[in-house]
Symmetry: C2
Subunit: 602 residues, 2 copies
Amino acid sequence: MADLVADRRDVEFVLFDQLNAEQLTASERYSDFNKKIFDMIINEARNFGIKEILPTYMEGDKQGIVFDEGEVRTPECYRKPFERLKAAEWTAMTEDTQYGGQGIPELISMAVQEYITGINFAFASYAHLGHGTGKMIELFGTELQKKLFLKNLYTAHWGGTMLLTEPQAGSDVGALTTTARRNPDGTYTLTGNKIFITAGEHDLAENIIHPVLARIEGAPAGTRGISLFIVPKFWVNDDGSQGKRNGIFCTGVEEKMGLHGSATCSMALGENCYGLLLGEENQGMKVMFHMMNEARLGVGLQAFTHASNAYLYALNYAKDRLQGRALEQILEPDAPQVAIINHPDVRRMLLEMKAYVEGMRSFTYYVASCFDHIKTAGSDKEKAWHQDMIDLLTPVLKTYNSNKGFDVCIKAMQVHGGAGYTKDYPVEQLARDCKIASIYEGTDGIQAMDLVARKLGMKQGKVFQEFIQTINQTIDQAREFEALKPLAEKMEPLVTAFCETVAFMGENLLSPRFKTVFGHSVPFLEVMGDLVMAWMLLWRSVIAATRLANGAKKKDLDFYDGQIKTADYFINNILPVTHGKIASIKGFGNAAIEITDKGLGA
Amino acid sequence: MADLVADRRDVEFVLFDQLNAEQLTASERYSDFNKKIFDMIINEARNFGIKEILPTYMEGDKQGIVFDEGEVRTPECYRKPFERLKAAEWTAMTEDTQYGGQGIPELISMAVQEYITGINFAFASYAHLGHGTGKMIELFGTELQKKLFLKNLYTAHWGGTMLLTEPQAGSDVGALTTTARRNPDGTYTLTGNKIFITAGEHDLAENIIHPVLARIEGAPAGTRGISLFIVPKFWVNDDGSQGKRNGIFCTGVEEKMGLHGSATCSMALGENCYGLLLGEENQGMKVMFHMMNEARLGVGLQAFTHASNAYLYALNYAKDRLQGRALEQILEPDAPQVAIINHPDVRRMLLEMKAYVEGMRSFTYYVASCFDHIKTAGSDKEKAWHQDMIDLLTPVLKTYNSNKGFDVCIKAMQVHGGAGYTKDYPVEQLARDCKIASIYEGTDGIQAMDLVARKLGMKQGKVFQEFIQTINQTIDQAREFEALKPLAEKMEPLVTAFCETVAFMGENLLSPRFKTVFGHSVPFLEVMGDLVMAWMLLWRSVIAATRLANGAKKKDLDFYDGQIKTADYFINNILPVTHGKIASIKGFGNAAIEITDKGLGA
């Protein structure tokens, strides 16, 4: 039977074969670690996740959260594992030891997160929001603020949030109306209403520290006049002791398609709601964007892990479920039933899911490894190169993983047949839970605008060119292997066509047809995601082919051959469609802009 | 504001402009009807649906069904409208007057069904299953059986079902183990267990008539030994009076992702469960397939109407929801917020949804009209032509509508942003309810096998060629209009490429690479669906262009122009991707067949 969640063999392959995690220990920063320690940490997370978090997944969905007079009760089954999560300080692990962390690399933490966040995102969100809040305070807070808040936030003893959205201000943050008034003691009094606040109120933490976006009275309109405030549920005195209950209250929770264990709260700030300024006045967007970028990578991870789990459930189901006869015996009524994994269309679905899941794992871990390379870089240039990659790839990782992750969950339902539509199996929940990923932390449309209008042109297009060069290096390596040569030769024209498309989009962005560019921006992002998948899968194949050439162990032969077959599938079955998408973009159809609202039926 | 459900303007266009419903009244069979009567019937259905069924949609999902000691309680809110549905005999309308019907054309009934089935499929399923059961009895039953069952089934006073699936026999019907033993009085005693039985037990009808697939003791294995039985919940005596409670009981209901108002039952047959043979012994599959084909078209309608409703919700939301500034003013913080319908990516999503919804409406209505043409045909040849089209197109209609319908629902959520993920709006429910369509009544994989292995080769490929000829006629008509010429010219190479693909698939089906054909059969079906969409939208454009050329009324200009823009979008933005899918199929990648199970991770 395949693993229940997060294929451990593949995690190992990506960490140590593809992304050379062990090499990190050569740097001073990570010199206390070695592969054995990394393995130990991952295996411990795996034990914890599978034994203690996994049983809460379907149970938490069923129990849901209960809102009662301003209080939010999380699913009963979350309590015990959440206490364990706090005690082991799992969520602080990449942080400094003074804040409860162990200072492990981001790359290794991806594997750990597959077993914690990846197993039950609703459960883990109560801890992760605290981490995001902590990160903002670490980067922009005063020494006192760090001392007061950081350790408790990083270790999930206190929760965090992000109070951004208001009914009239979602994607359009600048339209928010929550106000802040300076008090003589340096604090601010806040008034306003926020919606869609994940973990805005709950019973898993002793305190909740709310970062709140608000406009100081008299500040400019739009995003230029937004400041960020720390608004604790219970005030934290300067000596760290707990003060009064602050005037921030949950007024209701959303009923949602999925993530039933995660409290999505409406929050009211008023009647003595006090906050501390974080960073400088009117610089709230800058602070918020830092958190937002971290959150976007988190969403990419969320969607990918849902897909990964869904794939493994589908694989196990397909291997066990007997139905129909082998195609060779289809006309023989007495032929035995075979497992559905033998049916060509089921195999196609499984291999397609595998291709996306493994491509997304490599992609997600790759971006995480860029953070480590920034920390260990020997030069500013090297540092900048990795930051550039993170900036360029973040909108693609967030959006592509969200959509492909959801598609994989839906395919997993399909493999399960009627059973997949029932709550007897977790796949329908994985699909429901995953769906939010393409919406929150910036919709597909927002991400695609960011990619096309800002990221592609970074440093006069130099960043984009370096990205392409990196892909070309992998293609060059693949060409060295007889088995991979045909794949490399099919990748090349795609890279060329993609670069032409980028030039084409860039030219038109500066023309009167710029609206048409944005009408094609989401399909463009998808094309870029396809290219990244093909790159990652070809890269994996290069390693697999190398291992096979060097005489791999017998037990690894199927795994390595499977890597090459997966790249084969993606490059031969999916990339022709990607070429079609490119043709569509370059056809530059303009009907969506030209049709009148009435023509749409409005 | 656009219509809440089923765009009435577009329904009118498809019925009377595209498919010439009025022409049907020239035939003797429909000579009692005229356009005014058709309009009246549709408007009455619309009033009923919007006023009485629509309020039960979200409410029924919330209430769900309750199983209690063998009894199934449907949502309270269903009761009143269901009584109205029975009283008005809505579900019998295409049937003969002696069975409670009005004998209206199938084509007109599509419009009626958009307002009944389309508004709440879970609700309507209690009536439709009865209709399907009735149709089997009408076609294969004895005169006495017809007399006893038909009218009550057609008018929804009695419910119906289809007891096919067993735990080990889903797609593989031949593996069923339910048995029947002949009794001296001509009845049969049935024993077995069935699962996934829609409307297997409920409180909306006075009786439920179960068609049950079972194997008579001693009958051959596989599908050749299956017979069909009528098993009433309450026995029906020969004089029509109600007899004893029969030994068929509901043992549980499924908890599902959606269709919460629809009871999906496990059924136990035993301890004095009696049935009547329907049709001949061992001919059960033939009878069942007739019902199944009707059910597949019903699923196509279900998925399309979910999409249609989702589109209208998204359109209305996009028109009302203010967020962000116009692209021309994006750098001006004081510029007013605009409705999101103005944002290029939102317009792209809306137009894409519109294209699929309207293409699916035309497609679904077109197949329904074939049934009418069979009834009114002047010759056997004409009759056969239409039956052939139904047979060829059924797997495509079922599967393509299911998948595109679901995609449209998901896009509607995306247009709603965060709101779309909440239960404050109906779009997430539309997505959940729609998802089952690609699974039940034969999964995508089953449908694609039917298409590729049986339907394409019907009558030595002649049926397929006639299908292509029909499309070519539309292309020829389009070429006559200056505005449509570029679209026609882009359709032509697609038709050519598609025909080549069909030939390619056919050749390989008879080669040792036949498994690879089935590994590409679902993508092939999707290509055929894309072609049908393009055909339907181009056909609509021909009519719109004709109307515009003949001086259309001012109030219709946007609608007609919108038709051309919609075809423009599909042909320029989607068909290039279809060409990519064709390239993928003809590339004939074989990795999914070649990869080992262990290589997949199993």
